[in-house]
């Protein structure tokens, strides 16, 4: 969200899913959408069947990569090098969109200088991707009438995740692939309301509707409506909060619907910090590992089926969630709990009888949501922001202004970002020679709190996935229990062979933290701009266990 907001002002994907079906080239970069966003991938598949060429950039030959006309299997963390080489090739071949670059962007010369050292040969050496594959992607992307750039956590879960995002946005700016139907830049959100959380202002630097907290007019508008004073400075993102907790500057924590004790990188360290708090309140639908550490647990309703409200998806579509079943006795809506807290804290004037009242307040304060009445949301199956009018809709894509006839109508021109490349923090060495990257499987979700109950026939429990040749070199059989160590800790896990992993690359998920806590291994090297940790790049060592392996391994989830 930070990268897009930096360039365009609004932190949302610029296209709609439907546009993927009508595009000519699709690049999935660091996204295994086939597993992580399966129904988005349906739109990609429709695009492919309509003739679009698909490129997948990913260290792993994932399920998504197997759908690609060409897969670019880069070394973990070499994304910026690859993106810069693509940019350089497009410029060198004279394929960039001169009119768009000159009229709608800024900073091209600096960008050109930044990418200039990234020849195909150098990029091949750094990324491991053959030069001809880089050239093929560059030319196809630049020559396409419409192209889509899509990414997920493979781009953002790095110590320099925001720079990664910016390096991809550069390519779309270079070719004019933004602000037109079918051409765009789309981050795929990992959770059903990540986008909505940001839209509503649950980020440290924005009020609802991406209104800047440092903007006096905006702040005063909210202060007037809420009859309070809003601190005129940015708050802290998650990583900064943990740092503050560690320094004892933050001593109390109110956690709503998060499980940081298991989802944070270097989880041992995270738990230690949470245990050091003076007071922690956890509001959740389950007694999570984090909740077990809490002083007070507030049982909440499941927002998606026991509550009325809205969520926003990856194409900025605000949709209604509705109550289908009664919650368990004692569980209450998140909003009801917050209102009750306000009452107890001396604010009896908080009066929100239902979710629609809250929503209408938002509409009165956030211009981009103003036209989204519950009635219209119902009628149209959700509405994409921005929607300032009660009568009309905006185009399905953002930033059409950049193509306006008159310079004055183009608004703030989109800046190129001459970001530097820096490899993963956790370096490979003789001691830790294997690169571990993490991700998701199709039938599981995050720490497994919700998905664990699916009686999935696909589930095999947590494994360390290894290239079979690597495993053979180490004398390891498939299903053998091994010791996996990083500079931060060790876990035991059974091995699964995956011939789609390149030699030297290993893969795990964090779906079964109760059985195998992968985040013991991951590094808490955080992006200073977004606070996201480098889940995607750890250096590990794999060793045979001394004792003969138990022939009947415990399977996670059973």
């Amino acid at each position: 969200m930070v990268g897009l907001a930096t360039v365009f002002g609004a932190g949302g994907g610029t296209s709609s899913y439907r546009e993927i079906e009508d595009t000519d080239v699709i690049v999935l970069w660091g996204s295994n959408a086939r597993f992580a966003h399966p129904i988005f991938f349906h739109h990609v598949l429709t695009g492919i069947r309509n003739g679009a060429k698909l490129f997948v950039v990913d260290p792993r030959r994932t399920a998504s990569a197997r759908w690609a006309d060409r897969w670019l299997g880069l070394h973990v963390g070499s994304d910026i090098a690859l993106a810069h080489a693509i940019g350089r090739e497009i410029i060198a071949a004279g394929l960039y969109h001169r009119a768009f670059v000159e009229g709608s962007t800024t900073g091209f010369d600096e960008y050109r200088a930044a990418v200039d050292p990234w020849t195909l040969e150098r990029a091949e050496a750094v990324t491991g991707v053959p030069a001809d594959a880089i050239r093929e992607l560059a030319h196809a992307f630049a020559n396409a009438d419409r192209a889509q750039m899509c990414w997920t956590l493979g781009i953002t879960e790095h110590h320099n995740g925001v720079d990664n995002v910016l390096s991809l946005i550069n390519l779309n700016l270079l070719c004019g692939h933004v602000g037109r139907y079918g051409a765009g830049i789309n981050p795929l959100r990992g959770q059903n309301n990540v986008q909505g959380g940001g839209d509503m202002g649950a980020i440290p630097n924005k009020l609802s509707g991406f209104q800047d907290i440092l903007d006096d007019d905006a702040r005063h508008k909210f202060e007037g409506a809420w009859n309070c004073t809003i601190p005129p400075h940015h708050g802290k993102h998650l990583t900064q909060m943990f740092e503050s907790m560690e320094r004892k500057e933050i001593r109390a924590l109110y956690v709503i619907g998060e499980n940081p004790a298991q989802s944070e990188a270097d989880s041992g360290h995270a738990i230690h910090i949470l245990e050091g708090l003076e007071h922690m309140v956890v509001q959740d639908i389950f007694l999570t590992k984090t909740a077990e550490l809490a002083d007070v647990v507030l049982p909440a309703t499941a927002a998606w089926c026991e509550t009325e409200g809205t969520v926003t998806n990856s194409e900025r579509r605000v949709q209604r969630v509705r109550k289908a079943i009664d919650p368990p006795v004692g569980a209450r809506d998140d909003t009801a709990i917050i209102v009750e807290l306000a009452h107890r804290m001396g604010h009896p004037e908080w009066d929100y009888p239902d979710s629609e009242t809250i929503w209408n307040e938002l509409r009165s304060l956030s211009p981009m949501h103003a036209g989204m009445s519950y009635g219209r949301l119902e009628e149209h199956g959700g509405i994409q922001w921005p929607c300032p009018s009660n009568d009309t809709f905006e185009p399905s894509f953002l930033h059409g202004r950049l193509w306006a006839e008159n310079l004055a109508d183009r608004g703030r021109l989109a800046p190129f970002s001459p970001v530097p490349w820096a490899g993963p923090v956790d370096l490979l060495s003789d001691e830790f020679p294997i690169r571990l990257t993490t991700g998701r499987r199709l039938d599981s979700y995050n720490t497994g709190v919700q998905s664990g109950a699916i009686a999935s026939p696909l589930r095999q429990g947590e494994t360390l996935d290894l290239n079979p040749d690597d495993a053979m070199r180490l004398g390891i059989d498939e299903h053998e229990l091994v010791l996996v160590s990083s500079r931060r800790g060790s876990i035991k896990a059974p091995v699964r062979f995956d011939s789609h992993l390149r030699p030297g690359l290993a893969f795990m998920t964090f779906h079964f933290p109760d059985e195998i806590d992968v985040n013991v291994l991951t590094i808490e090297a955080n992006d200073p701009k977004s606070g996201t940790a480098e889940f995607k790049a750890s250096a590990i060592r794999v060793e045979k266990l001394q004792a003969p392996a138990d022939t009947h391994l415990p399977v996670a989830g059973q």
Binding site: I48, A63, R66, W67, D69, R70, W71, S499
Partner: protein
């Protein structure tokens, strides 16, 4: 594509079999493969059918490991490949002995005693489809060897696979064939034996399409040229594509496969399509029981088909031609394969045909035992590597046919008619026959007849004249009925044979010529058994796509069996006769394609014209 492949591994034989059709270059799976995706898979899909043949030919069945390896190489989902393989009768999805004798149980052979042969084979060789033996036998639908039934085709898996024909056969022949295999059997009768007219000078002088059969060496392009070959293509080149289409249109040539669609109109439609590529499909899947004329033409004069296809391609802008050849025609395959290679090596096919400045080449696609693939859209699905199910029309093939492109689809006999049209002009061609049915027609005369074979006569000869040309029923017998058009056709009575064999004559007589089957039934043929075989044939060959045909052909057969075998009160037969009529009408009205639409025709005509069950239901 993120397909899931079975764990079973292929044998070395299976790997080699696939290498022989796909080459060893296609990497299977894993991180070393950068290229993939749906577009690559789509481009490879048409190699599925040849690959299945390669596996079947090598070991005699399709194994889990073989299918899995095939799927990995072509990026075809195993379920899809299984669905395709299990569609075709020639592919066995279970382990089967390498040596198999296919004993024809179909109509023409039945009229020649196939029923008794099957009983005798069972007595001598044991039950059909045995496993764990070196060779097994199984009953087969029509093998297209009707002029010398009852016929047997013997196949043997291996590298290479071998095939041989025994016809006419007795039970001992089958036992010997299973013991010694195809390589141990004697040579097949020469193809010219199937053309009785060729045995006399006056008979031969009447031949136009069949004139070179038995005269020309089918393996020699020079001999073909010495007998007038490639003169028609020269003439076509001189008149140009539009001139060719004009002559074909003027000739009033209509399709000989049964539908009788004007060839000139079809060609003009494809020629006028701006979309490229254009394809030419030659339908050589003649599977109508009692039809074997295309086989005779291909075996006896293969270059004539190649030349005719080249002319068609020249006129319609087709860059690639396919001959979809019946899988059960080993000798036709061998002759045509050789002829195409010769033509290619001599510049009659390829990038610049005869230096005329156009490119055209021909690929043979072997069918795999499915009557439905003779349907003009099912044939596309089969070539493309899908189940041979008919498509719904529109769109018609001339707009969106093979691979979704404009396609000419004509059968063998239709195409070779183009040679005399080019040589003598459309007008001259149209002067033969009648105004409504121009040219000559090749009829396949089989069943209870003195001299079975293919007969070429001008349209307009009467059915009686044709029967007399073939010597009539064997001495001492009397004609019971004639089945015209095969299983999909209709019966006429012995007293109804004086009408002219023309499209309009057949129509006026409320019957059909179909693809030219003239099957004689004498008084020794048991009509109820014959009708049950027709019903069983359609039940076996229904593709299963639409309800009227899939279930209707079963209910039709069940009712027919009850009527013909049951000792029952008349009221029950009346009830089942109504079932037959109701089911038959729905099949005719509501089936997707011609198979279902005609599945009741012959039985209906047997009831209404021959009075087949009059005694039972009254």
């Amino acid at each position: 594509m993120d397909l899931r492949f079975p764990d079973a591994t292929p044998t070395l034989d299976e790997v080699q079999a696939l290498d022989s059709v796909l080459g060893p270059s296609l990497i299977a799976e894993g991180w070393e493969r950068e290229h993939g995706g749906a577009h690559r898979a789509e481009a490879l899909r048409h190699r599925l059918l040849p690959s299945l043949h390669a596996l079947q030919d090598r070991i005699g069945y399709i194994s889990h490991g073989g299918l899995g390896e095939l799927c990995r190489r072509l990026d075809v989902a195993p379920a899809e490949a299984y669905g395709v393989a299990s569609f075709y009768a020639m592919f066995s999805m279970e382990q089967r002995p390498p040596r198999v004798a296919h004993v024809c149980a179909d109509l023409a052979c039945q009229a020649l005693g196939a029923g008794a042969l099957l009983d005798a084979v069972q007595a001598e060789c044991g039950p059909p489809n045995q496993t764990g033996v070196a060779g097994a036998w199984q009953p087969s639908p029509c093998l297209g060897l009707c002029e010398r039934g009852p016929a047997v085709l013997v196949t043997e898996a291996g590298a290479p696979a071998h095939e041989a024909v025994v016809a006419p056969a007795i039970a001992t022949d089958v036992a010997v064939a299973l013991r010694v295999g195809p390589r141990g059997l004697g040579a097949e009768a020469p193809v010219v034996d199937a053309v009785p007219q060729a045995s006399s000078p006056e008979g031969r002088s009447a031949l136009v399409l069949l004139k070179r059969v038995g005269v020309v060496d089918p393996s020699s392009i020079d001999d073909y040229r010495a007998h007038g070959g490639y003169q028609a293509l020269r003439a076509a080149a001189a008149m140009g594509p539009s001139g060719v289409i004009r002559e074909v249109t003027d000739s009033n040539l209509v399709g000989r496969g049964g539908a009788a669609f004007p060839a000139g109109r079809k060609w003009a439609a494809v020629a006028g399509q701006p979309v490229r590529t254009h394809y030419l499909v030659c339908n050589a899947d003649e599977s109508e029981p009692g039809t074997f004329k295309d086989r005779v033409i291909i075996e006896g004069d293969p270059f004539s088909l190649i030349e005719a296809m080249t002319i068609c391609a020249f006129a319609t802008g087709c860059e690639q031609g396919f001959v979809y050849l019946r899988g059960e025609y080993p000798r036709a395959l061998e002759h045509l394969q050789h002829a195409i290679e010769s033509a290619r090596s001599r510049g009659y096919l390829g990038a610049n045909v005869m230096d005329l400045g156009f490119a055209f080449d021909i690929e043979i696609v072997r069918g795999a035992g499915a009557y439905i693939c003779g349907e003009e859209t099912a044939i596309f699905n089969s070539i493309e590597g899908y189940r041979g199910e008919p498509r719904s029309k529109p769109p018609f093939p001339v707009e969106a046919g093979l691979f979704g492109k404009p396609t000419v689809v004509n059968n063998v006999e239709t195409l070779v008619n183009v040679l005399p049209i080019m040589l003598h002009g459309g007008q001259a061609f149209a002067s033969i026959g009648t105004p409504g049915s121009t040219g000559t027609k090749v009829f396949c005369v089989s069943g209870s007849v003195t001299t079975a074979g293919v007969y070429e006569v001008p349209y307009g000869a009467t059915l009686r004249e044709l029967i007399e040309l073939a010597g009539g029923v064997p001495a001492g017998r009397t004609l019971q009925a004639v089945l015209l058009g095969g299983a999909a056709g209709s019966f006429v009575r012995a007293d109804e044979i004086d009408f002219p064999l023309t499209l309009e004559g057949a129509r006026a007589h409320n019957t059909t010529l179909g693809s030219g089957v003239v099957m004689l039934l004498d008084d020794t043929v048991d009509l109820p058994t014959f009708l049950r075989r027709i019903a069983a044939f359609f039940r076996d060959e229904s593709c299963g796509q639409c309800v009227p045909c899939r279930v209707g052909t079963v209910r039709q057969e069940e009712a027919l069996v009850r009527i013909t075998l049951g000792q029952r009160p008349a009221a029950e037969n009346v009830h089942d006769m109504q079932v037959l009529r109701d089911v038959g009408r729905a099949m005719r009205d509501a089936s997707i394609c011609g198979l279902g639409q005609t599945a009741w025709s012959a039985i209906e005509s047997a009831i209404d014209r021959l009075g087949a069950f009059e005694g039972l239901s009254s």
